[in-house]
Symmetry: C2
Subunit: 166 residues, 2 copies
């Protein structure tokens, strides 16, 4: 049983099974606005199903995380993708796991990442992840996700906590 995991630097490659890193690094661009601007195009695959739409909200995190620390749950949104974009150049922590079966994450394959301040992420539909973990507070993120009324959050509580360390 995994009881502790090391936090890795976030890369497109490491995060690929869970979604997309929203960042210029590793992406090509084309010029717009008379070459004053580089457009890094369509970095995240946004999805929603059911009676819903995609919208922009702000998550303002009011509790900061001190590393090392322990987590005891993951959640997933079965009806839509969810993207987090830092609004203050702030790094944040990401914890994700693949599916073990239809109902549970595979905690033997749980991973933790830290962003570099310029990166956002988009969780693919149904990806198990920990709620927002920030290293400073207050901390604002633009969140691009499903706007709908039906329930869209499953929670999995761990049998024993898992410690994250840098």
């Amino acid at each position: 049983m995994v009881t502790a995991i090391k936090i890795q630097h976030l890369t497109q490659e490491g995060f690929a099974p869970f979604g997309e890193v929203i960042s210029c690094d590793g992406h090509d661009f084309f010029h717009i606005n008379n070459k004053h601007t580089e457009r890094y195009h369509a970095l995240a695959d946004l999805k929603t199903n059911g009676n819903s739409k995609i919208g922009i909200s702000i998550f303002r995190n009011i509790k900061k995380t001190l590393v090392p620390f322990s987590i005891s749950m993951l959640e997933r949104h079965p009806k839509g993708s969810q993207a987090f974009i830092p609004m203050q150049g702030q790094p944040f922590l990401i914890v994700v796991a693949p599916n073990l079966d239809e109902h549970k994450p595979d905690l033997s394959k749980i991973k933790a990442f830290i962003t570099d301040g310029s990166q956002g992420v988009n969780y693919q539909i149904g990806t198990w992840h920990h709620p927002l973990l920030t290293l400073e507070s207050p901390s604002n993120f633009a969140v691009v996700d499903r706007i709908g009324t039906e329930p869209n959050c499953d929670i999995y509580e761990f049998p024993t906590p898992i410690q994250l360390f840098l």
Copy 2:
């Protein structure tokens, strides 16, 4: 004829005819994540039409604007809304105008705004606006707009330039 306009501080009220300010100010929230996070919900009304979807890109502005300065055009996207979210807490400038008729902006009603660093904006579908104007460089913005292949940009060139001042 308008030849110069003063740049105002951006507010929800002032910007309302053109779209939405993406900001916590003036919006209510509900708690999520065991009260660690405030969710300011569905702040922008994203729209797209035709054979397209909504996506997230990054605009990296590589030219900075020194105020006062002159502009000589506006553009609009007839097939989708377009949201700009600063990723580094950076202020930026916004220039918008209502329609005069089906083809032209009403330059007698042009307005310029400066954000406070915590604010993004969403331009409603078809809103005349100036391309991204940033006060620092390089400057990264997450852009949430239409991802499609058909032309989606009209440009209007001014008969004479308009100066913006603080």
